[in-house]
């Protein structure tokens, strides 16, 4: 009697637990996956954050319209950092503690990304950054991934091209913002590997309106063979115009920081002949028909431009696209949005084709791109042309 009652209780309890459990699982299945994001939508890096946010919003709508990921809808929670690392930290805490997101995609700049890394490492939530700095993934942090090429690779690609042209003496004019400063340091570091010597090294503040003085100094440097300008925003456009005004007779290299049509618009005729390393996205139509990236970049470009206007696509929005799609692939591979499983799945991504190139992640490479993903472009007649 007594025993039966106990058994009955046990069974009933188990049934009850099962029902609750099932309800909970069912609810988890119906609940949207919460995607957290913090981007520099205003401030000096807004030309990064703005297309990134637009891309996330647009594609999350599309994914949800097509039935979501693994049957679950995606819900975007976004905060604007204005490029301020301290704000990024507070918002990251808000995403992790208050909004209880399943993943964080974003961080437009290296500074905001770095400020947040200790938090996501502690919270053990996967984090895919859209920022360029090599410090983000070197050394590797278990929960941190990133989509764009590093500034170190950009330097490498530029110097590779210089090597092919027989250039060894290079002048640099860098922005003093985080991007310019970090890339300058990387270029100084990898220069010797390509036999490149930095003979002039000038800087300008991101909000400067005139760089003639610095360029005049560079121009008068003995033996100058080329100029490199790491930086983003209005700075490189002004450098390019001042460069043309002073009548330099050597080539000018810009960085991947200006990889959008906007740069050509801002710099005008002065941009003719400027070279820069960039992702294939910029030259989508000019890719060979059998290029594996072609369908991806054509798809993203036409989708983005259909909403935001002809010529509005930039590689920056592409970083957000890659991040979101990689996360989607990882959730599908893991079979759930459970953070640890997704992290493992992200680390095992291979052969993923994004706008930046083919991604092959591993335990000691949380970027998964190599130099071949970069294309060397030249600006001719107001448009990008593939070099070689």
């Amino acid at each position: 009697m007594f025993k039966r009652m106990t058994t009955g209780l046990l069974v009933g309890g188990a049934a009850l637990a099962a029902t609750f459990g099932a309800a909970a699982t069912a609810q988890a299945q119906d609940d949207p996956i919460r995607v957290g994001s913090f981007l520099a939508v205003t401030g000096p890096a807004s030309f990064l954050g703005d297309p990134e946010l637009k891309t996330l919003e647009m594609y999350i709508d599309r994914i949800n319209g097509a039935g979501g990921v693994g049957g679950r809808q995606l819900e975007l929670v976004h905060y604007d950092t204005g490029g301020d690392a301290n704000k990024a930290r507070t918002f990251a805490k808000r995403l992790l503690e208050e909004d209880e997101v399943d993943v964080i995609l974003g961080g437009s700049t290296t500074g905001t990304t770095m400020a947040v890394i200790p938090l996501v490492e502690r919270a053990e939530i996967p984090f895919v950054s859209f920022a360029g700095g090599v410090v983000i993934i070197d050394p590797v942090k278990p929960w941190v991934f990133k989509t764009p090429h590093t500034d170190r690779m950009a330097c490498g690609k530029i110097f590779e091209d210089m090597q092919a042209r027989g250039i060894t003496k290079v002048g640099m004019i860098s922005g003093t913002g985080g991007f310019g400063k970090s890339m300058r340091a990387q270029c100084l570091d990898v220069g010797p590997d390509y036999g490149v010597e930095i003979v002039a090294d000038e800087t300008y503040a991101p909000s400067d309106t005139d760089m003639v003085a610095q360029l005049t100094k560079i121009k008068n440097t003995e033996g100058l063979e080329a100029v490199v300008n790491p930086g983003f925003g209005q700075g490189p456009a002004i450098v390019t115009k001042n460069f043309a005004q002073l009548g330099f007779e050597v080539p000018l290299y810009q960085s991947h920081g200006v990889a959008s049509k906007k740069f050509i618009e801002l710099a005008g005729d002065a941009a003719e002949g400027v070279r820069l390393p960039a992702a294939a996205l910029l030259v989508a139509e000019k890719l060979p028909m059998d290029d594996p990236q072609r369908p991806i970049v054509m798809g993203y470009k036409s989708t983005y431009e259909a909403v935001h206007g002809e010529g509005s696509v930039s590689t920056f929005g592409g970083h957000a696209y890659d991040g979101l799609m990689m996360y989607k692939a990882a959730v599908e591979a893991a079979g759930s949005a459970e953070p640890a499983a997704v992290r493992d799945a992200l680390e095992n991504i291979t052969g993923f084709i994004g706008t930046a190139g083919e991604v092959n992640m591993s335990a000691d490479d949380h970027l998964g791109l190599d130099l071949s993903a970069f294309r060397m472009l030249e600006i001719r007649d107001g448009d990008w042309v593939l070099v070689n």
Binding site: A85, T90, E97, G111, A115, V135
Partner: protein
């Protein structure tokens, strides 16, 4: 030129001093209403009760940020509200404190508890050196000079990347006490709360000290006071140094709490934000300073949900409060309450 103190506050102040000097006993009600005892008590009660409302680390984070800003603003209020001197460069002192803690602990292995006073000492010394030439200036010239100091500090921090990590900032190791890492909202909440209570206590004492009385005596009659033999500059320098040290200590706290510092901390906007907090809460009111810090720290968090309209709304609120409550929140509201009480 430009006296930036609100008119009318000195009368109220003087009454208090007279009462004390005449030796009249204050009624218990008056004691409770006084800033020193009643205000302190209220602040401590609020600080002690607030954690009951805080649900998670993010909410603690906001509360802690309020506390850190309030420490700066309480000090800055001494300078703006009482000494009548404006500073658009206090974020520079804040950042120096933060970077002193960051650099001394991360690069030289010093303990945080040692780095903070060292930073404060350095900032105090710097403030003392520049105070005399700077405080000779008045009004907008003073604003420009302090702004210049802040901008120069900001530029040096973002250029000397080998030491400061440059524009991307640098990590600060977590504070350890007897081998235990101080991490998480609750611990930092109490640390910052203790410093805030200390700052408020120091501020109230200065206001009631001979220095405070001398500063109030200056109101509108600086030359007369000088003729009467009061060394006005000495008092102004003193308050300038005290407010800079408070900013530096707050900076150190911020560095250890957030474990990350950026040159953004020294930006012109950060300085403006501190001044806005002083004026918003109400100049020459220590508790106004705390309220100003709380409101302007919370506001961007509340507005974050309005996405792109955030800045528009923030600008509108700033203008509206200043237009309809030019004396600031706390003096206007207590004024209203007092009038209503009198009517009854």
């Amino acid at each position: 030129m430009a006296d930036i103190r609100p008119s009318g506050y000195s009368k109220h102040r003087k009454k208090q001093t007279y009462t004390r000097r005449l030796g009249t006993r204050a009624t218990p009600m008056q004691v409770l209403m006084s800033e020193r005892i009643g205000g302190m008590g209220a602040l401590i009660v609020i600080i002690a009760a607030l954690p009951l409302l805080l649900a998670n680390n993010y909410q603690y984070d906001v509360a802690i940020t309020i506390g850190i800003n309030a420490i700066v603003v309480v000090g800055l209020n001494l300078l703006i509200g009482y000494a009548g001197q404006i500073s658009l460069g206090h974020a520079g002192f804040f950042a120096l404190g933060a970077y002193a803690s960051a650099i001394l602990t991360a690069r030289y292995g010093l303990h945080g508890a040692l780095a903070m006073p060292l930073g404060a000492l350095g900032v105090g010394l710097l403030a003392y050196i520049i105070a005399r030439p700077i405080l000779r200036l008045s009004g907008h010239y003073l604003a420009m000079a302090t702004l210049g100091v802040g901008v120069i500090i900001n530029i040096v921090i973002s250029r000397e990347a080998w030491l400061t990590g440059g524009p991307d900032g640098m990590y600060v190791p977590p504070l350890e006490v007897w081998g235990v890492e101080l991490y998480g909202g609750p611990i930092w909440y109490w640390i910052v709360a203790a410093f805030l209570v200390l700052a408020v206590w120091i501020s109230l004492n200065i206001i009631d000290s001979p220095v405070g009385r001398a500063l109030r005596g200056l109101h509108g009659a600086e030359v007369a006071a000088e003729v009467a033999g009061v060394d006005t500059t000495r008092y102004k320098v003193m308050v300038f140094v005290i407010s800079a040290v408070m900013a530096s200590v707050a900076g150190s706290l911020a560095a250890h709490f957030s474990e990350f510092v950026t040159p953004e901390k020294a930006s012109f906007f950060h300085s403006i934000l501190f001044v806005t907090m002083v004026v918003f809460g109400g100049m020459a009111s220590t508790f106004g300073a705390v309220v100003g810090a709380a409101v302007l720290t919370l506001l961007p968090q509340l507005l974050a949900d309005f996405a792109s309209y955030e800045h528009m709304i923030l600008g509108l609120i700033m203008m509206a409060v200043m237009i309809f409550m030019p004396r600031g929140l706390v003096p206007t509201l207590t004024g209203l309450a007092r009038r209503r009480g009198a009517r009854r």
